[in-house]
């Protein structure tokens, strides 16, 4: 049994320590906002926060999550009030939306570290893939979110 702290709540799961955190979040805890994309930590659809930092949960063993604070898209805010969520709505960023929870979590982690990112900072940090190609709206929304955060 592995004890976790997910979105501020304690949870205990019966899983092999090598199980990717993504599987535990979706299958054990029913937190399906985090998506499976590539399964090789490349696309970023499965991004969550561990102790505030962005992590690709398809490549993060649940055994390493013990005693650490996990935040998923469901726990980013209780009422969509996080600056990134507000900017995403303001700029109508998503198209199909599949990648967007991972995208939002990646951007939230970036802004926590770099509150006023340049375009170069965004290029270096936000490598998530959006197959609808919403990249220009994403970039604009990141700058908008940075303004909301000030």
């Amino acid at each position: 049994m592995i004890k976790l702290n997910v979105n501020g709540r304690a949870a205990t799961v019966d899983a092999d320590p090598d199980t990717p955190l993504l599987w535990v979040l979706r299958e054990h805890l029913g937190l399906t906002g985090t998506k499976y994309g590539c399964g090789i930590a490349a696309c970023g659809a499965c991004t969550v926060h561990v102790d505030g930092g962005a992590v690709r949960s398809c490549s993060f063993p649940v055994g390493e999550a013990k005693d650490r604070k996990i935040t998923t898209i469901e726990g980013l805010s209780h009422n969509r009030s996080h600056p990134v969520q507000k900017a995403w709505i303001a700029e109508q960023v998503p198209q199909c939306g599949y990648c967007q929870s991972g995208m939002i979590m990646a951007v939230a982690a970036l802004l926590a570290e770099k509150p006023r990112p340049t375009d170069a900072d965004i290029d270096a940090a936000i490598t998530n893939i959006c197959r609808c190609g919403t990249y220009q709206r994403i970039r604009k929304a990141i700058h908008v979110a940075a303004g909301f955060s000030q």
Partner: protein, 201 residues
């Protein structure tokens, strides 16, 4: 009379002994020099074998003279625009630890080891011969390590990872250096004990 006759004989004996001592000392020094030279040459050969590990892609891909890591045996640029970042641990918001954890991940094929990060630019090894690499390691401005610090560094999880690099996302095993870890450590100990001599080339 007899006393007078003995003086040249004693003098001759002393001169003979002195010459013998000089010759013997010279021979000893010569043998010592030859032994020291052998010792240095053995040390240089040990480093040449160590260099086959240090110059392997598992080490070189992160001891890179670029603002990004490399990957694979072909040393291609790391996928997904991954960059070095200000502290050699990736860009703000996309650190090495976003994808690389403390062990190899079987499910994703992403490699991992404790404290996964790039070597600083001053420790870049691209394009160095074995001799140049050796001198770089010992140069305080580049490697910055004294000979007795190599053993603890080579015992870290990140260095040990190179010898157990795991499988990639399609199940293919990554190549490890041809020299096994225990042999590499023995070579390092012997090289350090011989004074850490560097090959010319």
């Amino acid at each position: 009379m007899s006393k007078d006759k003995s003086v040249p004989a004693i003098r001759q004996l002393c001169v003979g002994m002195a010459v013998s001592i000089v010759i013997a000392t010279g021979a000893v020094v010569s043998v010592q020099n030859a032994a020291a030279q052998n010792r240095l040459e053995e040390g240089r050969e040990e480093f040449r074998q160590m260099a086959t590990v240090l110059q392997h892609p598992r080490c070189m891909n992160c001891h890179v003279r670029a603002d990004f890591p490399r990957q694979g045996d072909d040393r291609r640029r790391h996928s997904m625009n991954v960059t070095r970042g200000p502290a050699d641990r990736g860009a703000p918001g996309l650190h090495c630890s976003t994808c690389h954890q403390s062990s190899n991940q079987a499910a994703s094929g992403v490699p991992g080891a404790p404290d996964w990060h790039l070597a600083p630019l001053r420790m870049a090894w691209d394009g160095l011969s074995a001799g140049e690499l050796c001198r770089a390691l010992l140069d305080p401005a580049r490697g910055g390590m004294k000979p007795n610090q190599f053993i603890p560094h080579f015992q870290t999880g990140l260095v040990r990872w190179a010898f157990s690099p795991g499988a990639g996302p399609h199940g293919e095993m990554r190549n490890a250096p041809a020299v096994p870890y225990e042999r590499f450590m023995a070579l390092t100990r012997e090289w350090v004990e011989r004074g850490a001599p560097c090959p010319d080339q």
